[in-house]
Symmetry: C2
């Protein structure tokens, strides 16, 4: 009986997955969406890096706003890794899906570091801010190192 129920559940699960597969987004649309998400992240992270390095004067209001946007964007970033969206002009590596536990780990770390950056930026403490920009940058790099094709 247990086996029959299991089979029925498997069939139901396979059937329910079918429409999603048939109607799923096209890889090129996912790729454009993903690139969009990271363009937005880069736009707001850029000045945070520049402030941390001293290339731009530290403005705690701008820092807090930008870091808040990066943290918000990090929450939607996982949506942009729809399976199969390595088919096309994209730097993503299939390891995102074949090593999904590792990917989830670096993604979660990015989310946590950027959430912390948003908090720290609000405090106005420049040293803490600079240190946390570094941690967030490392979190970005960890994912780029393992899950993005190297630029030539």
């Amino acid at each position: 009986m247990k086996r029959v129920v299991l089979c029925a559940a498997m069939v139901a699960s396979m059937l329910s997955a079918l429409p999603a597969m048939a109607q799923g987004p096209k890889p090129e649309d996912v790729i454009e969406f993903r690139q969009g998400v990271y363009k937005v992240i880069g736009w707001y992270f850029g000045p945070l890096g520049a402030m941390a390095k001293g290339d731009m004067p530290f403005d705690s209001q701008v820092a807090a706003r930008n870091a808040g946007i990066v943290a918000d964007m990090s929450k939607i970033a996982p949506d942009a890794f729809v399976r199969g969206s390595d088919a096309g002009e994209t730097a993503v590596l299939p390891d995102v899906w074949s090593k999904s536990q590792d990917f989830d780990k670096v993604m979660t770390n990015f989310q946590q570091q950027s959430a912390k950056l948003a908090e720290v930026a609000q405090s106005g403490d420049f040293d803490a801010f600079r240190a946390q920009v570094g941690e967030t940058g490392k979190a970005c790099k960890a994912c780029h190192d393992d899950f993005r094709k190297k630029r030539r």
Copy 2:
């Protein structure tokens, strides 16, 4: 004395604007950022439109999340219209800056309608949701009609 102070203030203000002008973002970077912002908006608005039309079953949790993201993105959308970023491969019309009061009006309307959509989506009331998706779609269209080159 007043005039001298005013002049000094003007010179200081001009000087302080210089580095910003010199170091301002390149038009192509702004264009990519802008397209990114609207890709993200489109990604999350798409299912809202499909649910409103009945092409996708109404899921109030998905609707609330997506609408919240669209509302958040609408708050950063104005950042993507840096003056001069009509130079390049972009559909933006220079009217964004030459008729900036009109542009601000349609942008503010988009922000207000999508904030309302996020509220309505949370209520789970499908009829109210459908109506507000329509209002938000109209707000999108108003800007596309007046400030975006027509697609051929």
